[in-house]
């Protein structure tokens, strides 16, 4: 029997006892992951959990997108990790993350490349503490006549988050790009584990400030599953509306900044204003332009009375009229097309190997969408068609955003017309002890993953967060290879990944 068959089967937001997750020996654990991934599964989550003062329990959650089936396996390790990334590039970033968070050693590496550059904060207490240097980072270096290095950041030219990019270039051609992150590291996971629920929800809202709804919904999804709390259909519909408004605001904003990056000012200005209209809709409902205060355990903190639903419907209707001419202004302009097409290509094959998610994968023809693959809440009743393109370039990423904008507008209009009656929030009680839950949410950047594990007293023992940016930053580095340095701003903007979401 393969390790995958032995694995504990899970569904999105259904908690199960941690004790039922099979414990495999290290090599078999690594093999099971590698085999499953080569068979088409994806690593949804892979993290370390302190088991005893000397042992760490590794937990892997594998996802079969076609069946909507999640599987969990685990393994106990003492100080040295099994060879997780051998034959499985998708595990590499998770392996580096575990090494950094838990202070574990990785076979074959003196020291693996840091992910966020912080001392271990999830290490078993009995493991020896090693000296830690926040400034150490092994950059790739390419030698050769006329090969030069370009370093950018952490403070960039615009109003952007901090990150350091280092190019090895030959003339204009980029040979390789190293991305050093961690400048936004705030210790989010520790806070989510240590703080009481009233404070933790505010931290969940601040994981990534442009993904408030998605992260808070995933966090609440985990808490609600552990508390066996059933949300009302009304709450589910309102969360769905908020999530799509968040997607609208960000996708519209992205089309605007993409236009700005190729100096196409009219579209940049109009999209910039229309983005604000979506934020203002969130403010109408929640009192905050990013939807803070809306998503709470047990449902939503603010109801939408009939007059407000009508008002939102009216304003969404105006957006549906205002957006298409602006979109065609941008996407039909030959000067824009010539800059967008063929720039920063990510192939479907790379998406498969590295497990890229969200619009990045969908624009390369890889149909991956939590709303479709692991439906939850309102998405069990209303299916949003998965938007896709095939070229995997900047144009495809813009096009997928535009398609998703149209579908989200339709969804919001439809939902507002027939909001289910009932309570918008129900009580959410104590958490079940000794359980594990996986909560997935399709944020506007892609799959947001929250995995929570409770201890014997029903307290949060581990809360693992994986923002889509964690998976997709490698896509930026790969898309730049062979491209031109001067295309970097445009290419980077077409991904628009979160530094805060990655750095936690």
């Amino acid at each position: 029997m393969s390790g995958r068959d032995e694995a504990l089967r899970l569904r999105n937001r259904r908690a199960a006892p941690l004790a039922r997750v099979p414990v495999l020996d290290g090599d078999r654990f690594a093999e099971t992951i590698a085999d499953a991934v080569s068979g088409g599964d994806r690593i949804i989550s892979l993290f370390g959990l302190v088991e005893t003062p000397d042992t760490l329990r590794l937990v892997a959650v594998l996802g079969d997108d076609e069946q909507g089936q999640l599987r969990a396996i685990s393994s106990l390790v003492s100080q040295q990790l099994p060879p997780l990334s051998r034959g499985c590039p998708q595990a590499a970033r998770f392996e580096r993350e575990i090494a950094e968070q838990c202070g574990a050693a990785v076979a074959g590496f003196q020291a693996p490349k840091p992910v966020r550059r912080h001392p271990p904060d999830h290490a078993p207490s009995g493991w020896p503490a090693r000296p830690h240097d926040r400034d150490w980072f092994p950059f790739t270096s390419i030698a050769g006549e006329e090969v030069h290095e370009v370093a950018v950041g952490p403070v960039h030219a615009g109003v952007i988050e901090p990150g350091h990019f280092r190019f090895q270039a030959h003339g204009e051609e980029v040979l390789s790009l190293d991305i050093m992150l961690g400048y936004q590291h705030r210790g989010v996971e520790r806070l989510l584990e240590a703080l009481d629920r009233r404070r933790a929800v505010l931290v969940a809202e601040s994981i990534a400030g442009d993904t408030v709804i998605a992260h808070t919904s995933a966090w609440c999804g985990a808490i609600e599953a552990l508390a066996r709390c059933q949300k009302s259909p009304r709450a589910q519909a309102l969360r769905g509306i908020a999530l799509e408004l968040e997607r609208l605001a960000n996708h519209i904003g992205d089309l605007g900044t993409l236009a700005g990056d190729v100096a196409y000012q009219p579209a940049a200005a109009y999209f910039g204003r229309l983005r604000g209209e979506c934020l203002n809709l969130l403010m109408l409902v929640s009192g905050n332009r990013y939807g803070r205060g809306l998503v709470r355990p047990g449902g939503v903190g603010f109801d939408v009375p009939a007059e407000m639903a009508a008002e939102i419907g009216l304003r969404v209707g105006q957006l549906r009229e205002a957006l298409p001419p602006v979109a065609s202004l941008l996407l039909d302009a030959p000067s824009v097309q010539s800059r967008f097409e063929g720039t920063g290509v990510v192939s479907a094959e790379l998406c498969g190997v590295h497990g890229f998610v969200g619009p990045v994968a969908r624009s390369a023809g890889v149909l991956r969408d939590v709303r479709h693959d692991y439906p939850y809440g309102v998405y069990r009743f209303v299916q949003i068609p998965v938007a896709s393109a095939w070229a995997g370039d900047v144009f495809a990423r813009a096009l997928v955003r535009w398609l998703e904008i149209q579908r989200s507008l339709e969804f919001v209009t439809e939902q507002l017309r027939a909001l289910p009656r009932g309570e918008c929030r129900v009580p959410c009680g104590a958490l079940a002890p000794g359980e594990l839950v996986v909560a997935l949410e399709e944020g506007w950047r892609g799959e947001v993953v929250h995995v929570a594990v409770t201890d014997d007293a029903g307290r949060i023992r581990r809360h693992k967060v994986t923002d889509p940016s964690f998976r997709n930053w490698d896509a930026v580095a790969l898309a730049m290879r062979g491209g031109q340095i001067s295309d970097f701003p445009l290419c980077n903007k077409s991904f628009n990944l979160s530094y805060a979401g990655h750095d936690l």
Binding site: E205, G272, G276, L329
Partner: protein
């Protein structure tokens, strides 16, 4: 080309009427918090204990006061306890000139005062700012970016974000200041020529915000960088920031 003109006409003039006319925000908007307290019954314990932030704290007489710098503007912070009631007003104006001005027994704050005449002569009609995010969630930066859109259009007041600290008259700091970003923040500040302004935007930069107490952050702008304008919010509404900047420049 015709499409371009047609779309331009469709867009109209969306620029905000601020500051010439008052701008009204939706009823649920959570602006400057207010406190009504009963001075006889000093009930600091209950609300402070139940709040998810440091919004309510005790003054020297153990009476409750509000610290707008620690406010996260969450609905949970609006609480009622015997002798002490916290609510949110719809007033977006709350940027102050000193950290201490953010601490208030009623929620009323002394808004930022104009710079002295010499500084106003230098910066009053043209201010160039460098933004540095240091351990933020990027919410505040998103609202800073919004200041450049056609609605808020900060450039109409001669205020712009620039690409280099060498081109800047001041620095806008967002985020709780992570350990990993401290050096870069200090270098950026040092790279701006005197006289220079420092603007702390958002609960994180002022007090650490939701990340207060994490070993990975410094709970806001360190004392080594003196702040001229404190803008509370999580994140601050673009008008809160704009109002503060214009007051500082003596334009309001």
């Amino acid at each position: 080309m015709l499409d371009l003109f047609r779309t331009r006409l469709m867009q109209g003039t969306p620029t905000s009427e601020f500051p010439d006319r008052d701008v009204s925000l939706p009823a649920r908007f959570r602006g400057r918090p207010t406190l009504s307290r009963d001075d006889t019954g000093a009930a600091i314990g209950a609300p402070a204990r139940d709040l998810p932030s440091g919004l309510v704290r005790a003054d020297s007489r153990a009476l409750p006061v509000l610290d707008l710098g620690a406010c996260l503007f969450s609905p949970e912070e609006a609480t009622a306890a015997p002798g002490c009631q916290v609510a949110f007003s719809q007033d977006y104006r709350m940027a102050t000139g000193t950290r201490n001005d953010l601490i208030t027994p009623t929620g009323q704050v002394e808004l930022a005062r104009a710079l002295n005449q010499q500084m106003r002569r230098v910066f009053g009609r043209s201010l160039r700012l460098r933004s540095v995010a240091a351990g933020s969630c990027s919410g505040c930066e998103a609202e800073l970016v919004a200041l450049n859109n056609v609605v808020f259009d900060m450039a109409r007041f001669g205020i712009q974000f620039v690409a280099s600290p060498r081109h800047a008259d001041g620095i806008v700091i967002t985020g709780a200041v992570s350990r990993n970003m401290r050096a870069a923040l200090e270098c950026t500040y040092a790279a701006i020529a005197d006289p220079r302004l420092v603007i702390a935007v958002g609960a994180c930069a002022i007090s650490g915000g939701p990340f207060t107490g994490s070993p990975e952050v410094l709970n806001g702008v360190p004392d080594s960088i003196p702040v001229d304008l404190w803008v509370p919010g999580c994140p601050p509404h673009p008008l809160t920031t704009l109002d503060g900047l214009l007051r500082l420049l003596g334009r309001l």
